[in-house]
């Protein structure tokens, strides 16, 4: 489904005094259809950059990303926008339109292409039901709680029936109870709609509760990739042990 090949991302220009920051160094990863793939790491490890490259907000310095055999880097114009519609993205900060109500926010991606109003309306109702916000259809984001906003963002990301859902710290701004319900919803989406999910997180609990595969990222590289079982039962690197709370050397 998604193939990441020798991906390197360097910020900044070599000539500038501020110098360069290597965010990702020669990263390889393969995500299969139906996976709930957790990418976990500390702040600054490069995980957000990885997601930004996946959703084409950043251009890789080197290497390639393939979505269903299609090179994302080569896409321009309409083909690029079509690829965008294949990927739903959920952000930590929700990024909803604050001046539009819940319905209008969810309908937004559907109305970017020629559409039939009745179809959009029907799809929005379907999505509202899926995320359990039917009674909030006319509410504005400022009237919603964090969990509700994230549900709206999820519904919006799923509107175009994407093949993959990319989540950047989807629960980091939520309390533990709300986190649980959002994660349950994600699991439901994966199992019932067959949407492949990639979750960027720094919380091991997120990985534990819904992922089937995990990649641990540290200092711009993957230190460990495998099934959740392998990694939880037999962590090899210090950073993984640290994240799991199993000691390891802390350097602190």
């Amino acid at each position: 489904m998604i193939e990441i090949k020798n991906l390197t991302k360097i910020y900044g220009e070599a000539e500038k005094a501020s110098g360069q920051t290597v965010a990702l160094q020669n990263v390889n990863l393969s995500i299969e259809k139906g996976d709930v793939f957790g990418i976990i790491g500390m702040s600054g490890a490069g995980k957000s950059t990885l997601l930004r490259c996946l959703c084409m907000l950043e251009t890789p310095t080197q290497g390639q990303i393939l979505l269903n055999g299609q090179f994302l880097g080569a896409l321009q114009g309409e083909a690029r926008r079509a690829a965008h519609r294949q990927m739903g993205v959920v952000f930590q900060g929700y990024h909803l339109l604050m001046q539009k109500n819940v319905e209008q926010n969810i309908a937004f991606p559907l109305t970017l292409v020629p559409h039939n109003k009745a179809d959009v309306q029907a799809r929005v109702q379907e999505l509202l039901q899926l995320v359990g916000l039917t009674d909030k259809a006319k509410a504005y984001p400022s009237q919603l709680s964090g969990g509700q906003k994230q549900r709206v963002a999820l519904a919006r990301a799923l509107a175009t029936n994407p093949a993959v859902l990319l989540c950047d710290e989807p629960t980091s701004a939520l309390d533990s109870l709300t986190t649980k319900s959002v994660l349950a919803l994600l699991k439901d989406i994966n199992q019932n709609l067959g949407v492949t999910i990639v979750i960027i997180t720094h919380e091991i609990a997120v990985v534990k509760s819904i992922c089937n595969k995990v990649a641990v990222i540290d200092e711009s590289q993957f230190v460990e990739v495998g099934s959740k079982k392998e990694i939880f039962e037999n962590p090899k690197s210090d950073i993984t042990k640290l994240l799991l709370g199993k000691g390891g050397s802390t350097n602190e």
């Binding site: 907000l57 926008r81 990024h95 909803l96 339109l97 001046q99 937004f108 292409v113 504005y140 175009t160």
Partner: protein, 222 residues
């Protein structure tokens, strides 16, 4: 009081109407041109949705130069253009041309400031949903900044209203012209005070109206 109104009422009424006419027509045309300029300034900036740093620098310079010209000089300088566009250089309609020319760069900067306030994440989210640049501008940037744009509108309108006093001095009419002729040239201070009161009322009304619009439009604090 009655005597005063009988004598100066018609003049003051005409002055008020001329001022309102110049202010609103100028504001309308200035936004028609200034809004796209503001969008262009924001979107072509480094990190904008369509970065074009060289164009942005040149365009920014041009805006700054236009804003640096004192209004009085600009007004006299473009009299030939005014005559060409409206056919004459005197009267309220002729006053509109320099007002628009002076207000466009000002409004461009006001709009730029409003658009800058829009959360960059929202724009990235729109991009991730497959929005074109035009769709991002029309449906995310402008929509999200409506309350701020409306607050800017009150500032722009009141600034233009202030400038109408200066166009008055070259024969455009309006309250400023009356205040100048009667108060300064003829020592009829009562007329001047009356125009000042009228101007205060106009400014307050414009401010209150725009504030109301902005509050009504803003869905954030409900």
């Amino acid at each position: 009081m009655n005597e005063f109104l009988a004598k100066f009422g018609p003049i003051l009424l005409k002055g008020t109407l001329d001022t309102l006419y110049m202010t609103f027509v100028s504001t309308f045309f200035a936004y028609l041109l200034g809004l796209p300029c503001g969008v262009l300034l924001t979107t072509t900036k480094k990190g904008g949705i369509h970065p074009a740093p060289r164009f942005n620098a040149i365009f920014g310079w041009f805006i700054n130069i236009m804003r640096s010209l004192p209004f009085l000089i600009l007004m006299i300088f473009i009299i030939p253009a005014t005559r060409f566009i409206v056919g004459k250089a005197i009267g309220a309609t002729a006053g509109i041309v320099p007002l628009v020319v002076a207000a466009v760069p000002f409004i461009a900067r006001m709009v730029e400031t409003s658009l800058e306030e829009v959360d960059h994440g929202v724009i990235e989210a729109a991009r991730c949903m497959g929005a074109t640049n035009l769709q991002i501008i029309m449906r995310a940037l402008l929509v999200e900044s409506i309350p701020s744009l409306l607050r800017g509108l009150s500032i722009s309108t009141i600034t233009i209203l202030g400038y109408t006093a200066i166009t008055g001095t070259i024969g455009a009419g309006g309250l400023g012209d009356i205040a100048y002729r009667f108060g300064y040239q003829r020592y009829e201070t009562n007329v001047m005070y009356a125009t000042i009161v009228l101007l205060i009322v106009l400014v307050s009304a414009i401010q209150a109206f725009c504030n109301l619009l902005a509050r009504r439009a803003d869905k954030r604090n409900r």
